[in-house]
Each structure stands twice: as C-alpha cells, then as structure tokens.
C-alpha cells in the first residue's frame, strides 16, 4: 500500500514478501556489497545550537565484523558497532565497551543490521518505508517499540543505485544527525593493521 510523499515520490511500506521486484533486487544488491571503506561527513544538529557540529572521518563496514566509524576531526576517536555491542576508543587509546542490549548502545547499535541490510531482522524491529525515484532511493526505519521510537526517532538510509549516500537519524523536535557518505570503495579487503585498529 502506498501514500503520497510530499516531494511527489511514492512511499511504500516494505515488509516480508511485500517489497516487489525492484526493491528486492536493490536490497539484494546492497546486502551483497561486502566490505566497504568510505569517507564521511557527519553533521549533528542540536536543538540548543544554531549551527551543526561537523565531524569527518572514514567509515569502514564489514558484513562479518560490523561497522567502524573513524572520526578524524575535530577530535580523533573510533566507534565500533558489532554483534557484541559498541566500543568507543578515544585518541589516547582508551576504550569503552557498551554491551549489546544495554540502553546506552541505543541508536548506534541499530545501524548494524541496517548496514547489513538484514531485512528479516529489520522487519522484526522496525516499520520500513521505502521511496524510489529513478536511481535514487531511501529507506526509513521506525522502531516498532514505542519507547525506542520516542528515544531514538527514525533512521533514514538513502542512496543512488547500489551506493549508500546518506544516513540520517531523526528525532522529532531535537537532535538530527546526518552522515553523508563520500567516495566509497567496495569489496575492499582490510589489512591486518586496519582490522586490529578499527574492528575487534
């Protein structure tokens, strides 16, 4: 069933068995992309600040090891989201673990199945809306759990063709985070050094 999007594109609810061949083919291609490395720019919009806080760095994703965000500016840190939860490593090398399932892991933990495009898992936890215009597409994930939905809002992933271009975390009336994914290398194989430094 579809509804009219303000921009004119048709937004559809995507669920088990309902995506249709175009979405199935896109989601299948996204899920098969394998490891990627990409530059990113993150803009954090806080309700109490006039301008966004801008962070830049390198995003690494491995379907097996999870997602790693290497922040380089304004401060160095590494954020790893994997099946064990979250790990934050600061510039001094100190790390902090946030176990999977704990409240503090929050929205970042939710990115992992989204980046894996593990749709069966996503259908269980989220209501998924999709929108496609030519090469462009976007998927909006809204937590089914009302508390989570209130706490974290929704996550929007958008892209062009089989490339993810932007991740957005939208929470009504407050923070809004956009991660623009820049030049992306797909099918990369991470060096031992990279694996050690950016994953666990």
């Amino acid at each position: 069933m579809g509804w009219a999007h303000p921009l004119g594109a048709e937004t559809v609810v995507i669920g088990p068995g309902t995506p249709g061949p175009k979405w199935e083919s896109l989601i299948g291609a996204l899920a098969r992309k394998g490891p990627i490395r990409a530059a990113f720019t993150e803009r954090r919009h806080f309700a109490f600040r006039r301008e966004a806080t801008v962070l830049t760095g390198v995003l690494r994703f491995s379907p097996r090891l999870g997602l790693s965000l290497q922040y380089m500016r304004p401060e160095e840190s590494i954020l790893i989201a994997d099946s064990r939860g979250l790990e934050i490593r600061d510039s001094t090398g100190r790390s902090r673990d946030i176990p999977a399932g704990s409240g503090a892991a929050g929205v970042i933990e939710a990115i992992l199945p989204i980046m894996q495009f593990d749709m069966p898992a996503l259908y269980r936890a989220f209501i998924v809306h999709g929108e496609m215009t030519g090469e462009g597409w976007s998927l909006e994930f809204t937590p089914k759990d009302a508390d989570l939905s209130e706490a974290f809002g929704s996550i929007v992933v958008s892209g062009s063709s089989t490339d993810v271009k932007r991740l957005e975390f939208k929470r009504a009336g407050s923070m809004h985070v956009e991660i623009d994914v820049g030049e992306t290398q797909t099918g990369v194989s991470f060096s031992q050094d990279e694996l050690k430094k950016y994953f666990r």
Partner: protein, 790 residues
Amino acid sequence: MEPARQKWAARALLAVAVATMVAWLMGANLKSRISTNVLDLIPSEPGLQELNMVRSLADQDEARIILLAVRAGTASAPGAPASDILATDLARALASEPAIAQAIPLADHIPRDAIARAIFLRRLSLLLPGWLDTMKRQYDSGSKSVPWPAWLAEKAAQDLEAFLAKPEAIAAQDVVTSDPLLLVPRLANRMEGISGPGFESGQGANYSLVWALSRESPLSEGGQEPVFAAVNDAMSKVRAIDAGAELRWTGVARFAAASRARIEREVRLLNILSLCLVVGVAAACVRKIHRAIHLVPVVLGGLLGAWTVTAAAWHRVHVLVFVIGSLLAGVAVDYGFYLFLQPKLRPSEPYAERARRLVRPLLASALTTVIGFSFLLWSELPLIRQLGVFVSAGLIFALLTALLWFAQIDDSHLDTRSFIRWRPNPAGRGVRLASRLALFAGAVVALAGPWRLHWRDDIRELEIPTPDITANDSAVRSLFGDDGAKTVYLTQGASLADARDNLESFLKWHAVAYPGSKAAAVGMALPTKEQWARLPSERAALADFPGQFRLALERHGFQVESFAPFFRAWKDAAASPTQPPYEAMVRELERSLRGPLSSLVHDAPGTAWFVTIAEQGPGPDPPASTNTVTDSQLQNLNRLFLKYRISALRLSCVGLAFVGASVFVLYGIRRGARIFAIPSGACLFAFGLFGLLGITLNLFNLLGAFLGVCLSHNYAIFTAESLRRHEEPPPSIRMSSLAAASSFGVLSLSRIPVVSALGSTVAVIVIAALAITELTPLASGENTVQRPGQ
C-alpha cells in the same frame, strides 16, 4: 604393691579433676564458643586499617552479596518465558524470603535510573564544588588576565562546544540544557567501568543476572543455611514456570559453609588419627601391648585440661586451635613414656621412689616448654595466644595426669621390646665414620639451606582450599563481566568525610602512578568536606557568572534561551539561605543507593570506606598515607602477617632464650650447652632442608619450629640425665620422638596449608633431634654408657 593410701588419694584427685572439667565443659555450651570465622584468628586493633576493613567487609554488604545467573532450559516447552523473565521471577521470589534483604534483576534499570536521577537533581550540590575546585586550579595556574567569573564562563562554553563532537554527546543531549557545565556527563565518563558489562546489561552469555544481598553476614550461621534454603525455594518457584531452568550462583556464604564443614571433618579425622598413631607406636614398642592402654589416660588428661583452660580463658576459640591442638596427643604421651618405661633400679623399687628420680628431668622438660609457650601470650594474634595456652595447659595436665595415673596402678612399669633399645656398637669404625658423615651432611644442610629461605603469609592458607567452589565463583563472576583484570581499592576513613578526603589523595596518587588508567568510585559523586564548606563563598564570588555564561554561550553559537533550566537551577541554589551540613547531604545520596552500587560505599559509626575500581591490573600498592589498600592486600594480609611473623619470631626467640637459660641453670654451662645444641641444630637443619627444597615458609613454620625445639630439648635433657648416671638413654626417648613425629606427620597431611606447615616442621625437627642425639655419641666414639654385659 603400691601403698593403698597413695592409690586412693591419686584416684580421688583424678576423679575430682576430671569430673570438674567435664562438668564445666558440658555447661559451657562449647558449640557456641568455637568459631570457624577466619577473622577470629586475627586481632582487632584500632590502628590497623587492613584488618578493620576486612572486618567491616566481612560483616557488611560486600560479603553479603549473592550473584545469581539463571537461564531458560534448553528443553523448555515452546512459549516458555525467556531468561530475563525468569530472572525477574527469581528476584521477586528471593526478595520475599526472610533471609534475603534485597534482590534485583540487573536488567531492571529502575534502581540505576533512580541513582542517576538523584545525582542529577543534586548536581549543583554534589558535583559543582569539585568542578569549581578543578577549574579554580586551572585558572590559578594561568595568567589571570580575565576575571574569574568571565574566565569560567568562557571555559565552560568552550568545553560544551567540544563535548558536542564526542560520541557520548548524542546520548547526553537531553541533559545538556539543564547541565551545560557537563557535571553529570563528566561523572558518567569517570564512572565508566565501575561495574562489569553484566551489571550494565543484566545479561551474561545466555544467562540473565540477579544481584541479591543476604540479611545476615555469611560468616554467621544465619547467613548460610537460611540463605541456601532461600535460594532453593526461590528456584523451585522458577522451576514451576520452567522446569528446565538452570541456576548458577555464588556468594561468600558458600565458601564459608564449605570451609566450616571441611574443617569440622578435619578436626575429627586428625584427632582420631593422631591418637591411633601414638597408641600404635606405643603398642609396637612394648612387650605387653594391652598395657599400652595406660598411656591413653595421659593423653586424654592433657587434652581435657587444654580444652578446659583454653575455653575458660577465651569466650571465642577458633576451631583451628583444636585442630592444631591434636598434636598434644604426640607431646602429652611423652610423660607417660618417661614414667611408664623407666626401668626400676631394683624389682621392689616403689613408684614414689622411681617418680622422685624422674621428677627433675620431667619438671625441667615440662616447665621449660611451658615457659617457652607462655611467651606466645604476648603475641598480637589471638590464634597464637590461644595455642600458647592450649599447649602449656595441655602439657601441665598431661604431666599431672601421668604422675597420678601411674601412682594408682599396681604395676607402673612396662618393658619395651628389644628392637627399640638396640644400639650399634660405637667402637665399630664403620659406625663412627657413617655417623660423622651423616652429622657433617646435616651440618652442611643446616648452614647452607637457611639462606635460601623465602617467607610469605596468606590468610587464605588458614582455610581449606575449595577449588570446585572457587571455579564456580569465577565462572559466575565472569558472567557478570568480572574478568579479574581490574584492580579494586578500598579507601578508609573514620567517617565518610574522612574517607572522601583520603579518596582524593588516593586518586591523585593513582593518576601519577598509573597515568592513562581510569579509576571509578561512588565517592566521586561527592565533594570533599572542604569543597562543600567553601561552596557558599565560591557562589558569592561567582555572582557575575550567569551573565558571563550567557554571553559565552552566545559567542559559541548556542541558543541561550534553551539553557533556561540551568540558569533557573543556578539561581535557586544561590538563593538558598542555608547550606545543609555535609553529613546530611551525604546521607541523602546514600539513601538513593540501591543494588550493586550500594556495596561500593560503606558508612558505619567509626569506619567508612569507598571502593574504587581501576582499569589496570596488579602493580605497586598505594602508600599508607592514602589509607587505601587493594583487595588482594586484604585477601592475603601478607603485609600484616609480616608484622606478626616478626613479632612471633621475637617472642619465639625470647621464649627460647628462657628455655635455654633454664637448661643452663639446671645443668650448668657445659652440659647445658650440649643439651641446647641438639634442638638448635635440629631446628637449623629443618630450615636448611626447607630452604634447599625451595619451600616457601610462613608464620606457622616458625611456630612449628618453636614447638619442635621445645619438644626436642626434652630428648636432650633425658639423654643428658642418663649419661650423667652412666646409664643407657631410656627407650622412652625414641618412643617419644617417634610418637611426636607420627602425630605431627599426621598434621602435615592436613588440607589446611598452615596446619600442614606446622606439622611438617615439627616432624622434621623431632626426627633430626633424635638423629643428633643418637649419632653424636657414635660419631665421637665415646663409650660412657654402661651397656649390659660390659
């Protein structure tokens, strides 16, 4: 035949003494007076922070914690509740048990959220003073070109801007408008790692975790069986929902109960074995085996006297005193041997005459040993004082029993078998050479070995190791995320205010000693008393701060009006006419602490402490000035025991000096020196042997050495007495040393490491002393003894 009057008088005295002691013991409710609490082995001295902490830890929350992990059965029916629901049910069932004070499923965030809320609401009381202190130090170390309120406002706005780029900013966005000084996020950052991941998520492997607190100390009986029953009852209720549900749990109560049961078994076994071996040695060496039964009353009399005097002298006596006391069987029997086996000068020699001949060496050996052991009464350790009295009283009662028992039987002499009297001919060249070689080898060991000795004490060696319970404990703790890689510190003070001041000193030391290693403590959520006292004047000096801070926020791109909640809270706090006393503020925070965090702070009249958990593994211990110790220091108390070891060594040396002096007074310098050389040489040999074997010794080896020297100098005295009379040394010396070696050999089999240490030390010294006694005349080729047929 002995005179009837003598016999009846002896019987009457014995009967009255035994009846009196038995009646007293029966009325003394011994069970309640015998302790298995390891803390009863160590003293309560006001100045010893380690001990006071161990005591308060044992009695307070820390020891009463019970960790439980439950998971749904693998064969559970479809639709059976998940582990987290079972954990909630288990916690609810436990909380309804009278033996359990608290039970919380760790997945339940309500207690943690309540604490966070309590701290957040009081942030301008709890956290602001410490933050102002830190900021002021930074300001004072700079140029001070800008007034303090303006500098502080600019710094706070800069820090807030920088914070927004940190990963944790997203989670903290909701509190920032109320807390732009970042007091709570900073505390949260410092407190990271205070509990393992299991404590945060409530999950470990496939288990859901429950934290509980028993109502009574696990070292008391009320904290053991009732707790086990409560856990069983609660788990039965869970299994009614999911029959296959599995539970793993741990707590100090499990260790304490297992230790108590094992020690009780050990007491029974060691005492029976020791008595059997002593009687066995006697039976093997005498001609009429059945008459060896006359030695049993001597041993029983000694033990009865020792139990009575020790129980009368102390309200609480540790069971270890009775375990080690079983050695009395091997010592007390000596007087029976000496009296019973002493050959008569003529067939008609009456008992009284024979006893009079022996009274000098008997009194010399008994009294010197008693004098020596009496010095242990000056020890700081209750265990050593109790042992000193137990052994001294036991020896006196054994001697009295022996004198009275043999006075009331018709035939008070027993012949020994020939093998126990056999001696090689000292004139034989091979015998002399072999004896000299053996003595030379012993001397080498005695002189070279002691330099290789290592000493270490560990309070845990006072108990029987329980590897299965220890393994279970580690497994359950790992489910809670405790991998043992962190270091736990305890900072003490006479009050929480004192402890907080000490915590500040400790944290400063830690930052220097372990740069980069984070340390977390509940105490960080409190200001020091001094910071709290300064707060009103600090606030007054910052009257311009709100205005300056508005301007700074504006400069750094913030929507100033969003921060209205903060400015309102600041104004309210500044307008408050009076500040509550420090103690009231602390108590208010304490009231909000529930669950695991409540065990990280302790506040009782006269003693308070904070637990700090640091990221790094073992390393240098904090200096005494910080009033802080690590949990490993508390677990083994080695540093403390070093003090007791030195004290015991000093007392042993004084005791030995008196033993030696008594011998010199009684036997003169030359003979006294020969007598004293035997136990001293045997003691050096034992330490040399342990040194060469690489055995690490403890306080109980030292005590064993003292006991061994006292025992073995008896053999030297009796040998010297025989030589003085040109008689062959009586067989009782060999039997006595064999009995002592057997009874102490049994102790060396004990699973309590310190008991084993004591037993093996005495056994080696006794055997070595006997060997020296036997070999010296053979090596010198002296034939001063009138041998039969010569």
